[in-house]
């Protein structure tokens, strides 16, 4: 079996700071995703990538950048952290971009902005 590793597990930032979250998968999956999870709001898709060097915007891409330089890794950048922002960012992967594929998730990065 494979694993998705997200680093760091906890991230504390300052208002206006640029923050980068990293995700690695060893499933050899083509597609990777970044979701944001807010309490009581479910998961919202920020960016996804169907292959190396590909980027597709999700519903919540404003305020974020992403990078898929290798098949196994997908990073997300918060371009300017908002004061009192608190959320969990979940990375996921799937074998193909097909919409019926199951997703495999990492354990998340919990972001707090002071």
């Amino acid at each position: 079996g494979g694993i998705i590793t997200q680093t760091p597990k906890f991230l504390i930032g300052q208002e206006g700071q640029k923050l980068t979250l990293k995700c690695q998968q060893n499933f050899n999956h083509d597609t990777m995703y970044w979701y944001r999870q807010d309490s009581g709001k479910g998961l919202r898709l920020i960016y996804y990538s169907i292959t190396e060097n590909d980027l597709q915007k999700g519903d919540l891409s404003e305020g974020y950048d992403a990078s898929r330089e290798k098949k196994s890794s997908f990073s997300l950048t918060v371009t300017s952290a908002q004061k009192n922002e608190m959320a969990v960012f979940l990375c996921a992967s799937s074998i193909t971009p097909s919409s019926n594929e199951r997703l495999f998730f990492g354990h998340g990065t919990k972001l707090s902005v002071l």
Partner: protein, 113 residues
Amino acid sequence: TQTVSQSDAHVTVFEGDSVELRCNYSYGGSIYLSWYIQHHGRGLQFLLKYYSGNPVVQGVNGFEAEFSKSDSSFHLRKASVHWSDSAVYFCAVSTSSGQKLVFGQGTILKVYL
């Protein structure tokens, strides 16, 4: 655009009880439906999915879900819950036209001993 709604934010039961977690969706075309479970501090794990065929699908750990086109629903059930089933459960939908997974708000299930 498809939407998905989980009407119960919290469900509380005792160990050994049966439970049903509700999920309703809105979309006029072909749709994929799935359920995921999230234990505290962890990522989501896939439980089961439905696209076509038998409307009752079996998942891991005794979970099953039933698709109803007339009710636009995909409710998750378990006949006898265990305390370890305490978690957040997410219903998700995607479409055959390629729209990515859209998740419901989640239902927190608490199982008391």
